[in-house]
Symmetry: D2
Subunit: 339 residues, 4 copies
């Protein structure tokens, strides 16, 4: 049994994490903080919990002395990096759900996030928390940078092909469709029902979205050479789920069966990856799960391969993966609390 | 004032056409047929109309003698071609909303629709009803093949670039997202609220969807050489609207401004094309209109151009365009009844 | 041809009014104001309009000198009453869409809106803008108080029965279901897609909602005695539309046919009321229209009558009705611009 | 550890039951049948399960010999009664999710379901499976009639007041709003996304819906006198959830606090009832749970009480309650597999 805390617990990822941790058989949730709602009950913010779990939300300063084994940091980008170091100093392990520790260098961080990184030395120490790629490193890590939702939906389906040097690394086109919860819980007219209902909203088309940098860095590590992607995110009128349709060019001709075999073999033993052979992923099939569904479609008479993935953006794309990382960091069964 | 009839009027496109025609100042709607509901009131099928328009739905044989100036045929693919010729013989003009007269040759038709075409001689006579490309031909046509919804959303934004030979014609990737009404009104579990709500459904990925043939044929005509596309349609949980995100490769380097200029100049005088310079298309912006919104995004440091379009699939993607075609065929103002 | 202005034009009702007025054959829209967006184009706020109508939004002080024939005031409750009088003084007619001039007395206003009314003398002068009840008064009015959306959906179906003294005036139970747009466009977590999707939200159950006062005052006028209602509004996950299910007790036994006859006779000549005899109202049937659909259901073996109505909350419940009022005030055809 | 079977497993309630039973620590699911899909994998019907649980669906005759401890019957009304007796004869306990064993007498059954009951002797033996009312009887039952979704949402909130003879038993008005999944998975145009999106559909208003009979019978048992209700169901555009707003008349004046106290005391120890004191139920708060949330609102200055409840129609309204019943029938912890 370990003790855990959640910083910034009242956003959608914080709430999802809360639900996972209170049911987790190896974890006792010691506290949860909120800047906006501190002093109130968690169940005032999420009435689902009323009478079921009425934990009082703390302010961050209140819990600084309160030693726990692991902290999940759900603060926004640029804020997390000012909070995480003090916990590491006290030997508390940290899973950070922001982007602050995902980039390999302070330079790439400042390029995409437009501020200086305040503790660049930790960037080398942080492990990118995608268990299917970095299982061993995560197991030994003190600081895990939980991957972004879009990057998770892209890196997992492409990894098997990049590792085998099968696809052109500079001609990768990613068309992602996401539910509205990905934008978080802060007030925004764009998140209003009347604005997003009956609408599809493309944004940051090309190389503008910050996740581009994260995706390219991880793909480049896998390919051992510089990858470049064209990443086009879209919001669709649903609550949760990401479907990524990825268009790549094969370096050598392989068949549909071979493509499927490569991805199947790579993820054969993975508890949270499902390769679909006879149908395509849909977000409903993964809703409420920590799973990534993947399918491939070789386009006849061309060297094009279409790779399609679906995840629940709040689980495998955020809080579920964070728990999976924690399970590895503490030697628990990897699927504990996630099924 | 002309008289018009609608064959197969109780599907979503038929109903939309009905609404447009009863408000059209130059058209008197003489009859509407339905195989399923003949003998009933149109307003029994669409209670919106009850007491407002209680036209009785006819059976097709009933109206054969009843001469009108124009017939809109909303029958399914493969059925339309057995009905259209008899109207043409009586000098009735026809706008056919099925795919039966969209392909240039009987061979290409049978390749994509898997049956022999029953009146191949009409294929040469039919005009592809995209006014922005074929305005003059449509004006003189007796038989107009109204374009498919997806093809409309693809051909319009690509035409300016293909006409100028600016893009690689064999490396065109189309990622389209459509609302549910595109599948029509026939009973289908996939169209049930519970199945499509909170879901994104990719289908016919690659070169499997029939609209691929229609798109390639039209693009090839524009480019004067064989075009090949990779077309990936997706259903998203909304009622109407198509957003197409199209990835092309430039043959020569042009800037964002140049790309925008090309498309703006091409469509400068078009009443139903809107080029967006400082934002991206969204389906809400065109809902209920006969408009196609278009934007381009040149990807910095690459030869990639992303072209994005949005239409209302039931209007510019079907019935609105059919009325626009009719306006041309009868010398009415092109925008009559469409604003 | 008259000239018109809209104050507070960028909310949902303002935008709907804008769309109606720019298409209205007898009206020239002279200006539209917005506190938040003044100086910007209307089409920056609603990109649907970009390139189609790029009117610049004014600040309220800018237009004070600019004489128009009619002003539509879409300001919030409590703000409208400070703006309306100055227009009336200049002989400009006013349709006020707030609640500020709906109540008969300053006392009842301050009871429900919890502030003193700043110009109580205008309350006697303002006409409650429900054309089906007050057509003649509206025709002669300088100041029309446009009814609330819920009250419109309640008063219209009950009027025929109250006028004939057929129902118990103190046992009226109103269960209303509204789409999200009724809450307006101001930022609100409750209006976020993720909060209202897959949710039904009852609120202000009993006698708490402000529309209770408006409903009771109007029903009492109709009945010539004090009416009391129990009003329960609910938000459901859709954009627009109100369905009100109203439970009343009959003073004398009448049959289903008689009940239907009463309501049919009362509204026989009304262009915007549709009485349904063989099916129940649904909000889709009135979406995008200025119509109120009504049905009645006598409950066998009881003295209970259920009266059901459906309106589009932004049209018959707000902006459509405001235009209907304007048509009356200026002697235009009542349906002008509304079909 | 017991063994269980599901008859008619591929509808929405069957699937939900399947998900609950495969995770239940005391149950081994032996088989599941489907008339439509027998011979196929369950995961062909619900691809969510693919590779996770690929149980083959059986035909009903195949499993007749296969002895299990409990059978859940998810067949439609009128069909279940022809299947259930044979299992009871083999000492298999049955939880029937249809309406076939919910009514007390063959007369009332045939009045509401318009067919003769084929084994009336079982009606006396069947226990109405609402644990909060019939816990002891359920514990000893061989045949449990699982309550309807609407009745569950009505009986639970009214029981405390009827048991204390506090409300007029012939003036009970129930206005229920349900998500679309309540209509089941059979093909239906009314269940299509395009038909129910942006719509509210009232139906069977008054005393027409079959659940009226079930509700009245159970309420009458509680009140020890004949109750009559006016029940008005509505479909709203969401997937799951029922919110019932119930209007009753108090026989004696009690305060808000007293009303709240009565309901709180009655359900104090109930694991699946939550009484809300300071907010109203919303369907999101109970989604995915087996809980019924209840609130009351005394209307000032009247003898009216509004009682509001929310359930997940597929859990507390169907399959969750069925598992709760099974837990009681086999002496398991009542909440086993339901949290």
């Amino acid at each position: 049994m370990i003790t855990a805390g959640i910083i910034g617990a009242t956003g959608y990822t914080g709430f999802e994490l809360f639900r996972l941790l209170v049911k987790h058989s190896k974890v006792e949730l010691a506290w949860a903080t909120s800047e906006t709602y501190c002093g109130k009950l968690f169940s005032d913010v999420y009435p689902h919990l009323k009478g079921i779990n009425d934990m009082i939300l703390k302010a961050l300063p209140e819990i600084q002395q309160d030693q726990v084994d692991v902290v999940f940091c759900c603060l926004p980008h640029r804020t997390a990096m000012s909070v995480v170091p003090s916990f590491l100093e006290k030997q508390t392990k940290v899973v950070d759900l922001s982007a602050d520790f995902r980039m390999g260098t302070a330079d790439s961080y400042s390029r995409w996030y437009e501020v200086e990184h305040s503790c660049p030395r930790l960037l080398g120490q942080a492990v990118y928390g995608l268990p299917e790629l970095n299982r061993d490193l995560i197991s030994k890590a003190s600081l895990v940078a939980n991957p972004g939702c879009y990057p998770t939906s892209v890196i997992l389906p492409l990894a098997p092909f990049l590792e085998k040097d099968l696809i052109e690394e500079t001609d990768i086109i990613i068309d992602s469709k996401s539910g509205v919860s990905g934008a978080g819980r802060k007030l925004s007219l764009r998140a209003h029902f009347v604005e997003i209902n009956e609408n599809i909203v493309p944004y940051d088309i090309g190389r503008l979205h910050r996740h581009t940098g994260e995706i390219e860095e991880q793909l480049s590590n896998l390919a051992n050479r510089q990858c470049r992607v064209l990443f086009s995110p879209h919001i669709v009128p649903m609550e949760r789920g990401i479907l990524s349709t990825i268009y790549v060019k094969l370096k050598e001709d392989i068949s549909q069966e071979q493509a499927l075999g490569i991805i199947t073999n790579r993820y054969n033993d993975e508890p949270f990856i499902r390769v679909l052979a006879d149908r395509l992923p849909e977000t409903r099939f993964v809703q409420g799960t920590n799973r990534c569904d993947i399918a491939v479609s070789k386009v006849d008479g061309t060297n094009r391969l279409v790779v399609i993935s679906a995840i629940d953006n709040l689980l495998k794309g955020a809080s579920g993966q964070a728990v999976q990382d924690m399970n590895l960091m503490f030697g628990f069964k990897e699927t504990e609390g996630l099924q």
